[in-house]
Amino acid sequence: MVEPAHLVVAPILVPLVTGALMLFFEDRERRLKTALSLVSILALISTATALLNTVHGGGHAASLVYLVGNWPAPIAISLVADRLAAVMLLLTALLALPAMISATQRWEKVGPHFHSLFQFLLVGLNGAFLTGDLFNLFVFFEVMLAASYGLALHGGGALRVRGGLNYIVVNLVASLIFLIGIAMVFSAAGSLNMAEIALRAESMQGFALPALHVGLAMLGLAFLIKAGMWPLGLWLVPAYSAAAGPVAAVFAILSKVGVYALLRLALLVPNKGIAFGSLVIFIGGVATLVFASIGILASQSLKRAAGYFVLMSSGTLLAAFGMSQSAVTAGALFYMLSSTLAVGAFFLVVELIEREQDAASSVLAVTMEAYGEGEEDMEEEEAEVGRTMPGAVAILGIGFCLLAMVLIGLPPLPGFLAKFAILTALLGPEASVPAASNFMRGTLAVLLIASGVVSLVALSRAGIRVFWAPVEPFLPRITVTETAPILYLLGLLIALVLAAGPAMNLFLATADDLHHQVRYLDAVLGAERVPPFAEAHP
């Protein structure tokens, strides 16, 4: 019987071992690699579910803390699975499954080591969500980024390399800024453990406090580059829209890592009772939201539009978190879940739509060269698989329509529920206003609705062009392995509607935890070692 405490380290170890193991096999052994990946991701889903059950369902412990190496509390590198971390782990695993499966149809064959890179990406993501230590956050960010560089360029082609080059440079610079921030925080607080930093910040005096704040601001800058805040996120759309469909789908959660880190750190070290730097986060979020809306309207191709939807989701989250209000944060977490799943599925749908369109109609999306390569590959596929789905247009059309409803925020799908939760918290009778002014609340409410209208315009235009009035007859050839992931994600979104009550309770509890950072501090600093070295209890 494994202690639940040891479960915390599993989301890092499982993909790490799987990814390393797969390096021993040649790329030709695709079945084996797919099977291993599948086992790993299913294990991740069940681990994340178990963790979520332990921290939320049981009611006894609000967070599990794993002390690496069994050192005493503030010295050890701690892995912390609280509600937020568990939710993020589950979201990652749930999104990884369809991305991996749809990649088996075509993308795993166009470059080496797809599955290993994919597993290492999961290591980095899970590690970043779990770690309670700043420097390890950096290390896991780097693991995630290194794998993502490989995946972004997967499949090659000039367009991908060009988008990927900018992506890599910007993120390398962001990593350096991250390091500067860590060094400054360390010099001010004398610790890298986030809980201990938060504890020491409360009693900090003199020169140390401004030094800490500058350090945190540098860290925030690095996270905001990752989250794609305007004007730090101009690299995101070219890189994401050039990446292979399944890769872009899993990248939908990559920008959420920046949002996650920002949320965790800003609320852990509050400044005068509200989240650190919340005004900047709010203004940045609003600017991102406006920029993304304009971008969506201006996009010639669906894949670019999908890239801008990633930005729109980031912008909404940042603006909502900038309010520094527990109820708004809860709504935003709901939005994070629904928008990440929807954008991921949208990338998969768009991939199927766009590869069928003729070269002239997909103006900016694919270069002639890249398109030619894709066509060849696909014909090989055809010969290899030989069986496509009937009613492909209907399935793609329904999928597109449902996803559009989530992204726009139309009832009854979760996009609507999420926006409704945020708006209720902003404008409802129970809205308390310690942190945010009426102007801020009004701006966010108007922008939330306006961004929905913009998405409605852009998506109905695109839908009409693709499904109702195509220049050439639109007869996509798709297979079961490509359709099933989309249906699975749609199923998850619908399940989220059906389970909206429990889910919202979970997010309210999560937001409540985040806004009472004492609970996190108590959990991490009070963590006990396991038996061989356990302290004697008085």
Binding site: V139, V161, R162, L165, L172, V173, I182, A183
Partner: protein, 112 residues
């Protein structure tokens, strides 16, 4: 010594920033390398600068903490060096691929 270190960090990062704003990929790589040196020195100096103070404890005698320097930043620098080394190597590969595919060493993949 503080002045020398501060000046070194300043010069390295100024050159690095100038270089990464240049349009050629080779300048970009050198700029990133210089910036990472500057950052490594910066992390190192955040553990306070002291001469003749070892970071590793001598267990044979009772430990006087004031005789030692904080070992944590040195460990951090080591990790940071390895990571930036690896990512720079990876970036070099991408750069060469980009040069081969686009026929130019401009960061945008086209001249002008």
């Amino acid at each position: 010594m503080e002045l020398v270190i501060a000046a070194a960090i300043g010069v390295l990062s100024a050159s690095g920033v100038w270089l990464i704003l240049r349009p050629r990929t080779y300048q970009l790589v050198i700029g990133l390398a210089l910036l990472s040196y500057a950052v490594n020195l910066f992390i190192f100096s955040m553990g306070r600068l002291r001469v003749n103070a070892p970071p590793v404890l001598d267990g044979s005698a009772p430990v006087d903490v004031t005789a030692y320097i904080d070992p944590v930043p040195q460990a951090l620098v080591l990790t940071a060096i390895v990571i930036s080394f690896a990512t720079t190597a990876l970036f070099l590969v991408v750069l060469i691929v980009s040069r081969g595919m686009t026929g130019t060493d401009h960061v945008d993949g086209r001249e002008g």
